[in-house]
Symmetry: C2
Subunit: 331 residues, 2 copies
């Protein structure tokens, strides 16, 4: 199991990226390829004792420059660290790639270099919001706005495979997120998608509402990335508000350390992108993870472990074969 | 100050409605007109000592029948309690109307009987989610799906007046809820609305993201009712999840009564429609409140106090004059 790590991507690159990668190599026996300008990476790596660890280095340019359009960067700066790291997966030198750099650049890199699966129009991201619920994932959390019903169907097919392989649920239920449970509730797009979902082979249970997400009423919950992004961030913001209120409420009854334990658990449950170290991009022909720019070493190590689980679960091959099966449904 | 109360609407009508109305009359010196079949109402009222209270009764048919289309009901059952109660406002016999019955029927009643303000295409509802934030209201929470940019602008104009009069903020900031803060972020509709908002006289500060809602980053936050409904209910569901987790966490450290106090405060903060007793329908020519079907007497009394605040703030006249001013902006 080899993970290519974009050592130059992220607010704390290369220091925290290198540290997190070495921690993952040490703790989980994962083979790591650090990608970045050789000098810069070597001087970071030399701070640690890496004897007995499988840490390699591959030379590259710096990260994609701030403010550069990711698509333009691919032609202007083809040897930027994220592109070189992604090519290692394409060429079979690594099983997965992670980057804590620009989300756009990682997404473009995954799509352009790894390629989308046949029939997939737009890759999708997903997660459990909040983390209290362990049998549900919401897709798309990746910012795909203005999705057509067929694209939502793609998300649902991918989501069903991901939930089956990653959450070990054998025949996951699928629902559309709407403003009412009955058929016929929703905006135009959800109503159209309802008809498409009903005709599919998915284990479709209809519409669910906002309160059904934390209740885990469906295993795979589908919305477009506009709604998904707002929900993801609202969950974070609400977690912060409740944490602040809770600190004040518990101030007289509990010790500071007891309060810290409780609030840190609340933080973990409500800030899913911080904690996972990021999200896997589903629908491209390779395992690629977009990390959080603010990631420190523990999150980098978490991200590496996260892609390891996907590789161990044989997620990619399963997705490929499932998506081939539903080609007939595609327009 | 006279409130017409649909005594037959709601899961616990007429018992809890009558009880709540009498409580409001007693506690807040509000004059009440109970609307419903005379026999049924009278036998409820007789359970209480209402000497010195201004409680009147107006005879009507039963509530709109379950499953009946609200628009059809208006012609088949014109003397249903909600319609009769709303007509009291239209005819100047009452200052406001509340109903805990079918949302659709109350909405149709308000639009058809009170009439929409000139230039208003769709009435709007709003509220603070969560209630921790006291300087922000989100519009629309009333289920207006597939809103055009001009409709979102209407919501923002109405929202600005509501926040000014009800939250006492003199020049409220207005923002569009989107999946990114920068101009150009959003789905097609939000991008189009951004241009319309920029040209308006609103105190428009641009896009905000999901986590900015509980942070109170803008005073008036605009989204369509599809997103608003999902957020409102997600907030409730997340509140429930966190409450359950918190009960478990605090079990060993606090007494049951201390835990109950904390969780009940959390419930209040996250279940805004339960607690207000409902929401005022803004954009119709009269004060009308849609209550929660599950409302018990305290929520009914709360709803009555809520419309009293709107009447006291002279909300309707201000809305009318502000909306007249912006007619020029309308297509």
């Amino acid at each position: 199991m080899i993970v290519a790590v974009d050592a130059m991507g992220g607010d704390y690159a290369p220091q925290e990226i290198v540290k997190g990668a070495i921690d993952a190599a040490r703790g989980d026996g994962i083979e790591i390829i650090l990608v970045g300008p050789e000098e810069a990476i070597r001087s970071e790596v030399e701070l640690y004792d890496i004897s007995n660890l499988a840490i390699h280095m591959v030379n590259s340019d710096e990260a994609v420059r701030e403010g550069e359009s990711p698509v333009a960067a691919l032609s202007h700066q083809p040897d930027a660290s994220v592109f070189v790291a992604t090519r290692l997966v394409k060429e079979g030198e690594a099983d997965a790639v992670i980057s804590m750099g620009s989300t756009g650049a990682t997404m473009v890199s995954a799509i352009a270099i790894l390629g989308k699966f046949d029939g997939i129009r737009r890759p999708v991201m997903g997660g459990s919001i909040p983390r209290f619920v362990t049998n549900t994932m919401v897709f798309d959390l990746g910012g795909n706005v203005d999705c057509k019903p067929r694209e939502l169907l793609n998300f649902a097919v991918i989501g069903s495979v991901v939930v089956r392989k990653m959450l070990h649920i054998s025949n996951p239920t699928v629902a559309l997120l709407s403003n009412g449970a009955e058929e016929g509730k929703g905006n135009k797009n959800v109503k159209d998608a309802y008809r498409v979902f009903k005709e599919s082979d998915l284990n479709f249970i209809g519409n669910i509402e906002g309160h059904d997400i934390p209740a885990g009423k469906a295993n795979v919950i589908i919305c477009d990335g506009f709604v998904g992004n707002i929900l993801l961030k609202f969950c974070e913001g609400l977690g912060d508000s409740i944490e602040e209120w809770l600190r004040h409420k518990l101030d007289k009854n509990l010790t500071q350390s007891e309060i810290d334990t409780i609030t840190s658990e609340l933080y973990t449950a409500t800030h899913i992108s911080d904690v996972d170290g990021g999200g896997i991009i589903y629908g491209v022909d390779g395992i690629a993870l977009v990390g959080h720019g603010r990631s420190t070493a523990p999150l980098v190590a978490g991200a590496i472990r996260h892609v390891k689980r996907a590789v161990d679960a044989n997620l990619l091959e399963t997705l490929k074969s499932e998506l081939t099966k539903i080609q007939g449904l595609e327009e």
